[in-house]
């Protein structure tokens, strides 16, 4: 496939090398599996609030069309499918797609996985109620162009949820030294700290991309409980944001 892409080819290669390990909760993607309940809680709460859905009902996201950009092995796509969403999982790493598709098939889940990019989805005229843009923006070559492309994929009043890593001494210590060097949770070189983005920078980028940021929360690891939780105050390391695409007609 040839296309104009915001994906940095060196980053794609790194994730391709890890694709087969996606679904092992104690394998290389252990940190992502551990983070998953926390980010799902955030995503589900935000979607339910915006689209007026009751999470205690079966298939609360029925009728919502959701894009999981940078879907990897499908850690977010599968839960969204279980909750009833019509989900497209897109990844620029070709090797992730058959891995994710095989796993979804075995689970009896209908998920439309595609080896494609945000740019190509725009060209194809795709539109979504929700775009999940999780732990991706710190890996792209040009964040503003990427976020603007994601914005173009949203229907009016659509929602983008975007998470990334803050850039400060603590995130360097946690994500690079801690997760990659000490715990060896992630292969060395998974992250480039210089590409991390502060919440203020991300809000600014989101606005420039034509979105209206409405919420942000920190995701904090508690070493005693060995689990992640959401925090309104501590956005010092991992954090997640919600923005809405303004309805053009109201502008």
């Amino acid at each position: 496939m040839t296309h104009t892409s915001t994906i940095d080819p060196a980053e794609v290669a790194k994730f391709e090398a890890m694709a087969a390990e996606w679904w092992n909760p104690n394998g290389k993607f252990k940190p992502l599996h551990m983070l998953n309940p926390c980010r799902l809680d955030y995503i589900n709460t935000q979607i339910a609030a915006e689209f007026d859905r009751d999470l205690s009902q079966a298939k609360p996201f029925d009728g919502l069309r959701i894009l999981d950009i940078g879907c990897g092995g499908g850690l977010l796509s599968e839960p969204m499918a279980r909750l009833g969403a019509q989900i497209v999982g897109a990844d620029a790493a070709a090797r992730n797609i058959p891995v994710a598709q095989l796993h979804a098939d075995q689970a009896g889940l209908i998920i439309d996985y595609r080896h494609t990019t945000a740019e190509d989805l725009v060209s194809a005229g795709e539109q979504f109620d929700v775009v999940l843009n999780m732990e991706v923006v710190e890996h792209v070559a040009d964040p503003l162009t990427f976020l603007t492309t994601c914005q173009a994929l949203l229907k009016p009043n659509g929602m983008m949820i975007c998470s990334t890593l803050n850039r400060n001494a603590k995130s360097f210590a946690m994500a690079i030294v801690g997760a990659e060097w000490v715990m060896r949770w992630l292969p060395k070189g998974t992250h480039d700290w210089a590409k991390f983005i502060t919440p203020e920078e991300l809000y600014s980028l989101l606005r420039q991309a034509g979105l209206e940021p409405v919420d942000r929360k920190g995701m904090v690891f508690n070493p005693l409980g060995w689990s992640w939780s959401l925090s309104s105050r501590d956005l010092s390391c991992n954090y997640v944001t919600t923005s809405i695409k303004p309805n053009a007609a109201q502008k």
Binding site: S56, E78, I111, R114
Partner: protein, 430 residues
């Protein structure tokens, strides 16, 4: 049943979005229809998860039993869970509130020692310390609730002969040849758990060389809602008040040889052996129930979960039945596991994934192990005739009694109100 009819034709190039579907008889397959199994099915139904309960035994004899003396001391937290799953209303008028508990050290043949450890419900905000509920009433109330609750199915009178765990589901084969499938298989099948042994989960056990003799007595004086626990050299004797005021359930522990001899006695001689231990504080006593024996032992499964499989209650941890903690611990497992599974389902997670089930194990394993070892230690301390230990015990019990804060701590522990409570046991919706 697994339906994989159109799964064969796929290659890498199949159209996106095309898939084959797998369907299950229920979300959860529960093996064991005693008390924890039906309670779990009801708790799961409250959170929108369906289940099938399988048991080799038929429902009828146990639900239709006459008075046989078998009863449980339900902790307050257990009552709240039963309320939350719609069962309490079915037994509320048949239970005896426990208003007071006395614990005391007994000398062979001399009845209880003077230092009584007394727990009074007036010191607790939550009302009674607990409730005595007869097995037949509790079982019937649970089965009635299962019958009327959508999404819970009881398959009784047909036992499991084989089970299979795959990456995506679990299936069991019954004696009749029927197959039942689900996303998760739960063993509520007691300390001899077939679910655990078929899955290759090893157990660690400790025997005590002791046997519990269980029966019920009628006594001339009313019990006033007081439960008594006498720690005798040969083992504890619990006298637990039953509804009506003149019946109490007896859990009488003796070393295995003595217990076998006592169980072999005629009713008259059995009562003759019980009288000096029981004492005369409730007036004349007479046998009023069937006589059961249970060998006392501790049995811990080496793990409570595997991918797509979890163990609950005695299948995970069989404890010494002092203070009726076996069922109370089991109902805590029920509340915790139901909450973990319902939360995972609402989050969109795969409810049988090991990282989901591990949350249940982390939550319950420490609590259960601590309780099992704690009761083991209490029993060993009190089942001893060493005079120095005796003096220490009498003093120790007296000291606990004299310090209200310490005593309230014991009471809250016994009432099941300490530790991180599952929502159903805290009186909240799942």
């Amino acid at each position: 049943m697994v339906q994989a009819s159109d799964k064969a034709a796929h290659g890498q190039s199949r159209p996106s979005g095309h898939t084959w579907r797998m369907s299950y008889d229920a979300d959860i397959v529960i093996v064991g229809g005693g008390l924890n199994g039906p309670a779990l099915a009801l708790a799961l139904a409250g959170g929108g998860l369906t289940s099938v309960i399988i048991d080799a035994r038929a429902v009828a004899p146990r639900a239709e039993a006459g008075f046989d003396g078998r009863a449980y001391a339900l902790a307050i937290a257990s009552k709240r869970l039963l309320q939350g799953i719609g069962v309490w209303a079915g037994i509320a008028d048949k239970v005896q509130p426990i208003l007071k508990i006395t614990a005391s050290d007994g000398l062979s043949g001399q009845g209880p020692a003077p230092f009584f450890l007394t727990f009074d419900h007036a010191e607790m905000e939550e009302g009674p310390m607990g409730f005595m509920a007869e097995d037949r009433f509790l079982y019937r109330a649970l089965m009635d609730a299962v019958q009327r609750t959508p999404g819970t199915t009881a398959l009784f009178g047909d036992g499991v002969v084989a089970q299979e765990i795959t990456t995506q589901g679990a299936s069991v084969t019954l004696a009749s040849g029927k197959t039942v499938t689900g996303r998760v298989l739960i063993g509520c099948d007691g300390r001899g758990s077939g679910v655990a042994s078929r899955a290759g989960i090893a157990r660690q056990g400790w025997g005590y060389g002791q046997t519990a003799l269980v029966t019920a007595v009628h006594h001339a004086s009313p019990h006033g809602g007081t439960a008594h626990q006498f720690f005798m050299p040969s083992g504890p004797l619990a006298i637990l008040p039953l509804a009506g005021g003149h019946h109490s359930s007896i859990v009488w522990s003796e070393d295995a040889t003595a217990a076998a001899a006592i169980q072999g006695l005629t009713d008259t001689d059995y009562l003759h052996a019980l009288r000096p231990r029981f004492g005369d504080f409730l007036g004349e006593i007479a046998l009023a129930g069937d006589r059961f024996t249970y060998p006392l032992s501790l049995s811990l499964a080496e793990r409570f979960v595997m991918p797509r499989l979890a163990l609950v209650g005695d299948a995970a941890h069989g404890v010494h039945p002092i203070a009726g903690q076996g069922l109370n611990l089991g109902l805590r497992d029920v509340g915790a596991l139901a909450q973990v599974l319902v939360e995972a389902a609402r989050r969109g997670e795969d409810i049988g994934a090991i990282d989901v089930l591990d949350r249940y194990q982390r939550w319950r394993r420490f609590d259960n192990t601590a309780m099992a070892l704690g009761m083991d230690a209490v029993n060993k301390l009190f089942s001893n005739d060493n005079p120095i230990l005796r003096a220490g015990r009498d003093l120790g019990l007296g000291v606990v009694n004299a310090v209200p804060g310490l005593r309230r701590g014991f009471m809250r522990q016994a009432a099941g109100l300490t530790g991180e409570l599952p929502r159903l046991l805290a009186g909240r919706a799942i």
